[in-house]
C-alpha cells in the first residue's frame, strides 16, 4: 500500500502522513494536554516543599504533551494502517437514544444563551421506552413489531428490577 493513507486532511502538510492513526491520535493527545495545561494554569503550584493543587496536573499534562508529540511524529514517519471509516448511523442513534433518556427521565431546565430550555420530567417508563425505540434504529435490521414488543418487555423488566426488586426511588410516570 503505497502511502496507503486515504486521509483528505493530509493535504496541507508537506510530509506525507504515513501512519494516519498514530498521527491523528497523537494530535488529539496534544490537544487534550493543551486543554489540561490551560485549565490548570491558574491553579497554585509548588509552595516550598509542598505540591500545590496545580503541580501534578501540570506534570502529567506536560508528559502527555511530550508523548503526544512523539506519537504524532511517529505517525508521520512510520508506515501504519489507514484510518478506519467511522460509522455514522450506529453511534448517532445510540447517542441520541442515551441523550433522550438523560433529558426525559427527570426533565431538564437549562438556559442556553439565555433561552430557557425546559423538558418536563417524563419519568422512567417513557424515558426507557423512548431510549430503546430510538437506539434500535442504530441497527440496519430494524423491524417494527418485534421492536415494539421488545421495548415494552425491556421497560417492564427494568421497572421490575430497579424499582420493585432493588427498591430504587424512581419517578415512573410523567409529572408536569
Amino acid at each position: 500500500m503505497a502511502g496507503g493513507t486515504k486521509s483528505s486532511t493530509g493535504g496541507g502538510f508537506l510530509l506525507k502522513i504515513r501512519g494516519p492513526r498514530d498521527f491523528f491520535g497523537g494530535l488529539a493527545l496534544i490537544v487534550v494536554a493543551a486543554i489540561a495545561l490551560w485549565a490548570s494554569s491558574s491553579l497554585p503550584g509548588q509552595q516550598g516543599f509542598a505540591f500545590g493543587p496545580g503541580t501534578a496536573p501540570r506534570i502529567f499534562a506536560g508528559l502527555l504533551m511530550a508523548v503526544g508529540v512523539v506519537i504524532t511524529v511517529m505517525g508521520l514517519v512510520v508506515k501504519g494502517p489507514p484510518l478506519e471509516s467511522f460509522a455514522l448511523r450506529g453511534p448517532a442513534y445510540v447517542l441520541v437514544g442515551i441523550l433522550v433518556f438523560a433529558a426525559t427521565v427527570r426533565g431538564i431546565h437549562v438556559d442556553v444563551a439565555s433561552i430557557p430550555i425546559v423538558i418536563p420530567a417524563f419519568g422512567m417508563v417513557p424515558a426507557t421506552f423512548l431510549a430503546f425505540m430510538i437506539s434500535i434504529f442504530g441497527s440496519t435490521e430494524f423491524r417494527w413489531v418485534e421492536s415494539l414488543i421488545a421495548a415494552v418487555a425491556m421497560t417492564a423488566f427494568c421497572v421490575g428490577l430497579f424499582v420493585y426488586l432493588l427498591q430504587l426511588p424512581f419517578q415512573l410516570w410523567p409529572m408536569f
Binding site: 505540591f51 445510540v94 433518556f101 424512581f170
Partner: protein, 501 residues
C-alpha cells in the same frame, strides 16, 4: 496454619449465611447471563451490573460482585465454545479449540472441561489467596508513601507492557487517565481543578460513568458495525455433558499447569486473566507431544486457558485486598464499589473488617462451586440466549446501562458523561488506543497523587527519595526494566505475535 484455618472458618461462616449465599448465587447467575452475550466483556459486565449491588450491605455487595466477575468470565467461555465469537479477551484462546470441539459434536465435553478446569483452579487459588493474604498484609505495613507510589507506578507500567499494541500509546492512555482523575476538587486544598466552572464536575468524574462509557457504550457502537450474520452458533443439541475418562486424563496435566501459571500471572499488577490464558495456551502447545492437534479441537487447549484465567481472576484479588492496589480494570471497578460502601481497600481491611476479607475469600470458593452446579444444567438456557438477535439485544443493553448509571446518583448528567465517554472510547479503538490502561490509571490516580505529594513533603522536596528507599528503588528498577524490554522493537513484535495467535 491454625490461624489460616480459623480465618477460613470465619470466612465460611460469613459466606454461608443464607443471605450471602443468595447474593453469591445471584451474582454468578446474572454475571453468566450477561457474560454470555456476545461482544460484552468481563469489564463491561461488571461495570453494567455494579449499580444493582449498591443497595446491598457491603459484604453482600462485594460477594455478589465477585460472583458476577467469575460468572462473566465463565459466560464468556460458554459463548466462545458455542459461537465462534469470543465474549471477551480472556476467552479468545478458548475459542480456538473449544469451538472446534463443538463443531465436532463435543460441545458438552468442552463445556464441562472448562467448568471443571475453572473449578479446580478456583479451589487452588482460593487457598493461595487465603495463605498469601496475611504475609502480604504485614509487608504492606512496611510501605510508606514513596513505596506506595512506586508500586502503583509498577502496576501502571505492567498494564502498559501487557496491553496489546503500541507501548507509547498505552503510556499516553495512562497519562490521560491520571489527568482525568484529577478533574474535580483537590484533596488537600479543595480547589476546583480543571472543572471549567461546571458544577457537576466539582466532585470529579464518576468512575462508573467512565467505565460504562468506555467499555459498555463504546463496545456496542463498535459491534454495530460488524455484520451479525457471521455468527456461527452450534445448532445441534448439546449432549454428553459428562467428560469421558480419557478427557479427564488428557486434560488433568493441562489444568494443573494452567492453574499454576494463572495464579502467578494473576498476582502481578497489570496482568490478570487475559495474559494468563494466552500464556497457558502457548505453553501447552509448546510442550504438547502433538502440537498440530491444537486449533483442531485439542481438549488441553480448552482446559489450560480456562484454568489459567480463573486462577488469575482469583489471585488478582491479592494485591487489591492486601495492598489496596487494583491490578486490572475489573479490580479497579471493585475499588469503585468498595469506595461507595465506605471501605478503603488496603491492608487495614483484613484487620478492621476480617469478616469482609475472609467472607469474600470463602465466597470465591463457593462461587466457583455454584458456577459448576448452575452452568452445566443451564447450558440450554444460555444457548437460547445466544439466539436472541443482536438487533434486539443492543438497545436492551443501552437502556439497562442508562438506568444503571442514572440510579447511582439520580443524575442525568452522569448519563451524559457516560455517553461522551462512549464516543471517546469508539474514537480510541479506531485509532488503536486501548482503554484498559486509561481506566486503571483513572482509579489509581487520586491514590498515586496523594502518595506522591506525601512522599515529596516528607522528603522535603527531594525527588530522589523514590530511589534511595530500598523497596521503592527495587520497584522502580523492575518498572524501568519492564519498560525497556517492552520498548525494544524486536520484543514488541513478538508480543504482537502472541496476541495475534
Amino acid at each position: 496454619m491454625t490461624d489460616l484455618l480459623a480465618n477460613l472458618a470465619l470466612g465460611f461462616s460469613v459466606a454461608a449465611a443464607p443471605m450471602n449465599l443468595a447474593f453469591c448465587l445471584l451474582g454468578a447467575l446474572v454475571g453468566t447471563l450477561v457474560g454470555v452475550l456476545p461482544g460484552i466483556g468481563t469489564v463491561a459486565t461488571v461495570a453494567m451490573l455494579l449499580p444493582i449491588t449498591f443497595g446491598l450491605p457491603p459484604v453482600g455487595a462485594l460477594i455478589m460482585l465477585a460472583g458476577i466477575y467469575y460468572g462473566a468470565q465463565y459466560g464468556g467461555s460458554t459463548t466462545s465454545i458455542l459461537v465462534n465469537i469470543p465474549g471477551e479477551a480472556t476467552s479468545v484462546v478458548t475459542c480456538l479449540d473449544g469451538h472446534q470441539m463443538a463443531r465436532q459434536g463435543r460441545a458438552g465435553a468442552a463445556l464441562s472441561i472448562a467448568a471443571i478446569g475453572s473449578f479446580f483452579a478456583g479451589c487452588v487459588s482460593t487457598v493461595l489467596v487465603a495463605a498469601l493474604g496475611a504475609p502480604l498484609t504485614s509487608l504492606a505495613l512496611l510501605f510508606g508513601p514513596a513505596e506506595y507510589f512506586s508500586l502503583m507506578l509498577l502496576g501502571l507500567i505492567f498494564a502498559v507492557v501487557l496491553a496489546k499494541g503500541s507501548v507509547l500509546k498505552s503510556i499516553a492512555m495512562v497519562l490521560a487517565g491520571l489527568l482525568l482523575s484529577m478533574v474535580g476538587s483537590d484533596l488537600e486544598t479543595g480547589a476546583g481543578r480543571m472543572t471549567f466552572d461546571v458544577a457537576e464536575l466539582s466532585d470529579g468524574i464518576g468512575f462508573t460513568n467512565v467505565a460504562m462509557g468506555l467499555f459498555g457504550f463504546a463496545e456496542i457502537i463498535r459491534n454495530l458495525e460488524m455484520s451479525q450474520e457471521s455468527r456461527d452458533i452450534v445448532q445441534a443439541k448439546i449432549s454428553g455433558l459428562m467428560p469421558t475418562r480419557k478427557d479427564l486424563i488428557d486434560s488433568s496435566g493441562a489444568i494443573s499447569r494452567g492453574t499454576i501459571l494463572g495464579s502467578i500471572l494473576g498476582i502481578l499488577p497489570g496482568g490478570g486473566a487475559v495474559v494468563a490464558s494466552f500464556a497457558a495456551y502457548t505453553f501447552e502447545k509448546r510442550i504438547s507431544k502433538n502440537p498440530e492437534s491444537f486449533g483442531n479441537g485439542a481438549i488441553a487447549g480448552v482446559a489450560a486457558p480456562e484454568a489459567a484465567n480463573n486462577a488469575a481472576a482469583q489471585t488478582s484479588f491479592i494485591p487489591l485486598l492486601t495492598l489496596g492496589i487494583p491490578p486490572n480494570a475489573v479490580m479497579a471497578l471493585m475499588v469503585g464499589a468498595m469506595t461507595i460502601h465506605g471501605i478503603v481497600p488496603g491492608p487495614q481491611v483484613m484487620v478492621k473488617q476480617p469478616e469482609l476479607f475472609w467472607g469474600m475469600i470463602a465466597s470465591m470458593w463457593l462461587g466457583n462451586l455454584m458456577l459448576v452446579i448452575i452452568n452445566l444444567p443451564l447450558v440450554g438456557v444460555w444457548v437460547s440466549l445466544l439466539r436472541v438477535p443482536y438487533r434486539l439485544l443492543f438497545p436492551s443493553i443501552i437502556v439497562f446501562c442508562c438506568i444503571g448509571i442514572y440510579s447511582i446518583n439520580n443524575s442525568p448528567t452522569d448519563v451524559l458523561i457516560a455517553a461522551i465517554f462512549g464516543l471517546v472510547g469508539y474514537w480510541l479503538v479506531k485509532h488503536d488506543f486501548e482503554p484498559a490502561p486509561l481506566v486503571l490509571a483513572f482509579v489509581l490516580g487520586p491514590l498515586m497523587e496523594e502518595n506522591l505529594r506525601r512522599a515529596m513533603l516528607i522528603a522535603r522536596g527531594d525527588a530522589t527519595v523514590f530511589l534511595t528507599r530500598p523497596i521503592s528503588a527495587g520497584l522502580i528498577l523492575v518498572a524501568a526494566i519492564l519498560l525497556i524490554i517492552a520498548m525494544l522493537p524486536m520484543i514488541s513484535k513478538r508480543r504482537e505475535e502472541v496476541f495475534v495467535e
